[in-house]
Amino acid sequence: VVAVGRADCGDDAAGALVLEQLAGRLPDRVTPRAVDDGALGILEAILDCRGVALVDAARTGRPPGTILRFDVARRPLPESLGSASSHGLGLADALELARALGRLPPRARVWAIEGERFEAGRPPSPAVVAAASRVADELLAWLEIAPG
């Protein structure tokens, strides 16, 4: 389980919030990882895994807390969710690079939670906190772990 984003930048903490919700609920076969250093950090975290669940914040203009789900093992992330990070490389690029290298996990799913504020030092918005809890439950179901 890979949480993408900065825990100290408002709703960019969406992934970190999901990891918090999952603390103590994941079996040994599942490794939680937090990545905040762009595409290559994500790439390193996902290469050659048997399956990967990625959680990131999104900014698409939808209402805050909206949850978007993508089966990225089957198709790339939509272009409208392009990346915003160093050297223009982000989550979508990491996934496509892994696919190009033939090392994208056969099960790969992205949960994107719509955020409304991303300023450094701000807490996440209530809508994102609530959505993170729902994503954690969905993710456990996807991993075939009974929600505790």
């Binding site: 790439l43 900014r59 203009g61 160093s86 982000g90 290298l101 033939g102």
Partner: protein
Amino acid sequence: MSARRSTEQGTTSVRRPSARSRRIVVEALARVEGEGGLTLHLRGGEVAGVELRIYEPPRFFEGFLRGRRFEECPDITARICGICPVAYQTSACNALEAACGVELPPALAALRRLLYCGEWIESHALHVYLLHAPDFLGYQSGIHLARDHAQRVAAGLELKKTGNRIVEVVGGRAIHPVNVRVGGFFRAPARVELDALVGPLRRALEIAADTVRWTAGFDFPDFAMDYDFVALARPDAYAIERGRIVSSSGLDLAPEEYESHFVEEQVPHSNALQSRKKDGGSYFTGPLARFNLGFERLSPEARRLAEEVGCVPPVVNPFRSIVVRAVELVFACEEALALIEGYREPVEPAVPCVPRAAAGHGVSEAPRGVLYHRYRIDAAGRVEEAKIVPPTAQNLRQIELDLARFAAPRLALPEERLTWQCEQAIRNYDPCISCATHFLKLDLDRG
């Protein structure tokens, strides 16, 4: 993620005010760090002007360093860049240690150099494989390159990962290291931790050597300029973490003499300052400058490989900088191996630095070139003034001059092709726009 569209190739628009004049605008440059664009002004079939527009917002680091404790500067300035934080930490430490009148003992200086080797490997591997090589092989991006050359790109990523490991072990984590302090480190790594890097480094050295041969086989546009190269130099080693400032026009300066010879100025079209020599001329800093001015001090294998592929000074075609970066990858791997072999755990991880009212100047060779810091601190260790001149700001004027000369004979090319080639010319410098927009003089007209 955001709704902002990531462009693999920069978006372009052409405005045609008249048959004799036109303007080519690259709205967003791709495969560079940060946000910038390019405007070419054409009049009567000639290039009348080039504007490298850096619209990434100014970042005011020098302003908010004022009043902070001197010990905080390395960690605060590291945040300027996620690609070259070690460079910021090192130049800051060099400057503040000079202000405190402290010199690092050899063991700690070697550890700082090892950390910096890790950053060079990370940064150069990223640029060579994912940002610049696609240009030469006709691919839109590193991802497109990987689809046809998976094994090679995987090797490049392995190389980068080895750089990350060094920074992690010595610096505490791969991005924005936390183990660096004025006077040395918070904790010195154990011998056994560094020994674990030897195997990956030997493999990385093989990959780097292969990278030299691979990049040397690319087709390079026919282009050369009469550059004034500026780099750091040391009599005993290829300069990385410290040195004197030398140039191909004969300068040989101590760090504290930097501002007597170079100035920064604001230009209307950019949020980044541009540096120039005080006599008005542009200059070129970065791998090509280091290579041309320090070739004899490269490690033996790096020199041998460079000679094998016919890459010897003076290299004045900036497109060949990709080969030079590959040579520096070989050097950084060899140097890291030598530093690990010679490592003796220091008795203390840092030397005490007692502040005094003084100014300190520090330089180091960031992957992109000379990074200059100056601080004035008071007797209590508070920062009264800070100045930071990143390499990209020093190269911006030269990049514009390159583009004017490079584009002139290529104006008949289809727009898309011309844009591609101009972007490639910019990427010769591996510009880091986030670093360059560190300061903007703000004038408020209140009527």
